[in-house]
Symmetry: C2
Subunit: 251 residues, 2 copies
């Protein structure tokens, strides 16, 4: 098939899915096309939910990078954000919460408490998921604003984001599920947020302050859905440029 | 009742609801307490939905300001963001999409296409709502980053947010509903986003580029739910300080 590249062996995050070449301004037709990046925590939430539901292999992945995301994604999503899912009939779904809810409605029963409908405790799950995705938002924004060039870093704003991150960690630490609890959407979101924090701020010792949360994360991280979607640093990470730092990057 | 202040006559945004004094670190007990600000577009979406459902009078409003939002809201929501809703039993709900879905599930039938369940077209509604709230996000972030002091403004980042705003306006302009269409959640979100754009960037001539969208907005804006929740500039707006600009402010 033209334009299709096999997933690179080292690309664990795309395991089980086919990858399709990104083409600016040309939405890719076909079944369940997911605009995707291996490091985005929002994408990881969708991919991890798809792995839990056993349907990750149904996606064709179009990779969005810092450099191409506006050109590639904006024709289907004016926010130019990922994940964005294009269905068989061309309908477009975002953001991550909407996609996870759709996946569960179409394929579900694997998530004990999904988003958007089945669970008895759906509002609690939706709110905890919002807290976890808010943590993702804060870490993504903090990273990109910290990469701004000298004279363009909003230090006060960055400090507020950091304080928010600390509060959400405390919130999550106060709600640690038993290690053998059934998988819920909010737990997936929390684990993806913590994984992204580790990925971008590996020197931060949040485990020291929250040992029970660290223990939960270690156990939850052994799930196949988490293993299959873990972000990996590229082989030779390019130094960020001012232009790439200014972009709303995938992750 | 101690701590209760009547709504000021000029405060249209809180019409129909009781206001309760904010107290740092002390969640306010009682029925349906909404952490609120008169200018937040996310809060306006919830209030407008409540007006459509005829239940705005059930809220007790606790006002979050730039100065107090972390102290007042973070005890119930670690993101320290509004809207945040505390239910009768102490359960806490956020973000705006979750609250609107809850309101509709408890009180609904007024919204032709609600979020989160009833409508035949729920995924389209959720995605369009995400586009509109993404526009709110971009305008809020652009405003706050533009208020950063000299030497701390991330100009490249701000430019990307502005480009996103323009794309979403084009997206909304391509999907203008008939003036007499039944009220849907995504339409409420689009109108609240456009209202906030006008409120914060009144000199921007988006109507010139998108006359059909402007006409729809003018007609939709005459709904009682929109009239009752329109943001008003304070009588004497204080000049923003560096500290307040750095905050994730209510709006």
């Amino acid at each position: 098939m033209p334009g299709v590249r096999p997933c690179r062996p080292q690309c664990r995050a795309g395991r089980g899915a086919e990858r399709v070449e990104a083409q600016a301004g040309r939405p890719v037709p076909g079944p369940l096309t997911l605009y995707w990046a291996p490091t985005s925590p929002f994408v990881r939430l969708v991919m991890a939910a798809a792995h839990e539901l056993g349907v990750a292999g149904r996606f064709r992945l179009v990779e969005a990078t810092v450099e191409n995301i506006v050109d590639v994604v904006s024709p289907v999503n004016p926010l130019a954000q990922i994940p964005t899912l294009v269905l068989e009939d061309g309908a477009v779904l975002y953001d991550s919460a909407t996609i996870v809810a759709w996946l569960d409605a179409r394929y579900g029963t694997a998530l004990a408490e999904p988003l958007g409908g089945r669970g008895a405790d759906r509002w609690r799950v939706a709110t905890r998921t919002a807290a976890a995705t808010g943590l993702m938002d804060a870490v993504v924004a903090e990273r990109h604003l910290a990469l701004q060039p000298d004279g363009h870093r909003p230090d006060g704003f960055i400090e507020r984001l950091r304080a928010r991150r600390m509060r959400v960690l405390g919130y999550l630490a106060g709600r640690v599920a038993p290690a053998d609890a059934p998988v819920t959407t909010d737990a997936l979101a929390a684990a993806c947020a913590l994984g992204y924090l580790d990925f971008r701020f590996p020197s931060e010792d949040w485990r020291g302050a929250h040992p029970a949360l660290a223990e939960w994360f270690a156990a939850f991280g052994r799930r196949p859905s988490m293993q299959a979607t873990a972000p990996e640093a590229p082989d030779a990470p390019p130094a960020p440029t001012a232009a790439s730092a200014a972009a709303k990057a995938p992750g």
